[in-house]
Point group: C2
Chain length 426, copies 2
């Protein structure tokens, strides 16, 4: 087949749409979102559906000890490296339909188009659903395991709690050992490509079709527990109290002020609190909060971490409280491969789509893969920038554009040379 | 029997101690406290135990449509009014062994002593365990139902949540109708007496044996929900966020400052928060908080209520959030009967115990009864003032002193006149 013919190849948007609608029913919430926390029943049902679809289309299928599920197409010569395409089918609790799902379905669609066209590429293709991208358990669990960068500590003290992790592992038939044993030899990987919704409003605000991702922020999470003295909320005078809520609330307010004042590119979130014992008439004896913060540069992330922990200690002292600090995990910031960025931009140009280069404020599996092979990401616009919410929405035409850019990027990558060789320095 | 002989009557402290230790095993927590939320399994087990003890001692037993459990002694002439003695066997979640339990057991012990001595009094005696004093469901539920002052709204929107209430009612065989139908005709009540631990440090700090309670603070509770926009915690810039946690936290800090600055006799507590959806990487879309505040005067309670609601609206506006306000209930402040206070003081004097008059910062069932009959309360010292905690502790000698003052107050009350008539103005 000639390059001209390849340039005119498009994904089947009717088939992609049918898949998208079917998948959105799995773990659907009444408000139009989905609830598919990693390794929960709905996530496992989505994976079973994905496997059925792949096998029905005559694609190969593989799963690994971290639960990662892949549709496989042997379109390269024997022993050729694999170009991974993927994203994730898990969602945050009560999240949206697009986040992750679009990338997995577009990857599957690319495999089908290549298969139907009978293209011989210098690489094999694999459409992969990575386990626990969202961090209900650990965050980037499947992709870090595959890259061989998963820290065993993150399994011992996962940010979602060891009980939740153990229950998910039991449900999916995984163990700590199986997860830690799935590293793939980078020599077997040609690279990684991921299509994702932007989850911010930059593309929509600028009226641009496609975002070419330059790098991904790093993030770090902690569970901070302020400890005071549970006591009667009627008989204990205000001055006598050691109210754990005061420390937790003061920290939450000041952390926002700190980041807004001193960390222009950073963000901080207190996403959850748990009060103990938790009653109207008892002064909180302990308040545990879920803290996450991000920065595009590793050094800034370090500095932000130190500042936030100092702030927590300071606020605990102000209110006469104790502080327990539990590290929950860290993802290093990642730069994405410049040559892959260029391929994505060329693919968009070839399709007549406008594009802009931009960093990602969200973590993605591409971050794990970027440590061991050439990795690239492209974004399509999120209406209103809404994300991690049932209100998340991307126009269908943009979803189709993204899938076509993914397909064309794969074809351009394959055209580079007979070994699809971008892997010199990995 | 002569008055001199009555003055020398004492409760059986060995028997009281055995009861106390047995009861503390029901719902016991590993840290030495008890977990007996109202109408939960442990609370129902405690009631079954109480009933067994009463019946084993040959006392009568009654239960009513609000679940209140009573041991009864017909020691008065036919048609005589009943002098209620009591408190509650429920606890706050993971609370202490003394709160409520001491008052019920001392009441039971008074009945046994009167029964054994064969005393004929001008009143009948009833040792009552009131349902849900602590407010896991509604607060003062059983005593308000008995007094006829229970607001049906509090059953429809109970502060513990309607599901928890319904589950408890089902477990105990109660219905809204049965609860609302248990009012007793005040003409049948001679009055109410309650022994309780102080739950504050005033008696301990002053080295005084007994507190004669002058009145009980009123309290009011609300569920306040700050609503923003759930969104991705990495991709949404700090400036763009509508973070519900910011409003909830600012309110929690400012409410404390407000009360400390302007409400010397008042207290405020944010005892619980619930974040939605509640994840490290999602900006909180909604945070619901459990608010309770107290004041000894009704007018001050009104003013504090208005100030706190205004503060919540102000903080919601500051952070661009919505606010949902759900009233959860109110208990009016109560003055306790001056003549009963005097009887308690005389009883303490007769026992050679020091005493002091003081208001109660905690709500008590006496508050409900004070609206329909002469009611009195006495406190014994709480070590360190610790309450609503497994660390709650009262020296055993003080528990015995309190039970003896309760017994002697009953005997002095009975001596007043042949009708034990304190009920003129009720």
């Amino acid at each position: 087949m000639m390059n001209v013919a390849k340039d005119s190849l498009r994904i089947d948007q009717t088939r992609l749409r049918a898949d998208f609608e079917a998948l959105a029913q799995i773990g659907a919430t009444r408000d139009g979102g989905v609830h598919r926390p990693a390794l929960g029943e709905a996530h496992l049902a989505a994976r079973a559906w994905f496997r059925e679809r792949a096998e029905a289309d005559g694609l190969g299928f593989r799963t690994d000890g971290a639960g990662n599920h892949s549709a496989c197409l042997a379109c390269g010569p024997p022993g050729a490296p694999i170009l991974l395409l993927g994203s994730h089918l898990d969602s945050v609790p009560r999240g949206g339909r697009y986040d992750g799902a679009l990338g997995v379905l577009a990857a599957l669609e690319v495999l089908r188009v290549v298969q139907e066209t009978g293209l011989a590429l210098p690489v094999h293709l694999e459409a992969i659903d990575f386990t626990d991208e969202e961090g209900t358990l650990v965050g980037l669990l499947g992709s870090a395991a595959l890259a061989g960068t998963l820290d065993p500590d993150e399994l011992r003290q996962p940010r979602g709690g060891r009980e939740v992790l153990a229950a998910g592992f039991a449900r999916a038939g995984l163990t700590d050992e199986s997860v830690l044993g799935v590293r793939r030899d980078p020599a077997t990987l040609a690279g990684y490509l991921e299509l994702h919704v932007e989850q911010g409003a930059r593309l929509v605000d600028a009226g641009v079709d496609v975002g070419v991702v330059t790098g991904i922020v790093g993030y770090c999470s902690y569970r901070l527990t302020f400890t005071g003295q549970a006591n009667h909320a009627g008989t204990t005078s205000m001055a006598e109290r050691a109210d754990a809520a005061q420390g937790a609330c003061a920290f939450t307010l000041r952390a926002r002020e700190l980041v807004m004042a001193d960390y222009a590119g950073g963000v901080v979130n207190v996403g959850d609190m748990h009060f103990s014992p938790g009653a109207y008439n008892i002064i909180p004896g302990a308040v545990a909060l879920a803290l996450e913060f991000r920065s595009p540069e590793a050094e800034t992330l370090d500095r932000l971490e130190a500042d936030l922990l100092a702030l927590a200690r300071e606020q605990a002292a102000t209110f006469g409280l104790g502080l327990e600090v539990a590290w929950q995990g860290r993802c290093e910031p990642a730069l994405l491969d410049a040559r892959v960025q260029s391929l994505i931009a060329q693919a968009a140009d070839g399709l007549g789509l406008s594009h802009v280069s931009l960093p990602s404020g969200a973590g993605h599996d591409a971050q794990s893969l970027a440590r061991v092979c050439p990795a690239g990401m492209l974004f399509v616009p999120s209406v209103g920038g809404v994300s991690h919410s049932p209100d998340e929405f991307t126009r269908w035409a943009d979803c189709v554009n993204g899938a076509n850019v993914l397909l064309q990027t794969v074809l351009r990558w394959a055209r580079l040379d007979s070994n699809a060789n971008l892997t010199d320095e990995y």
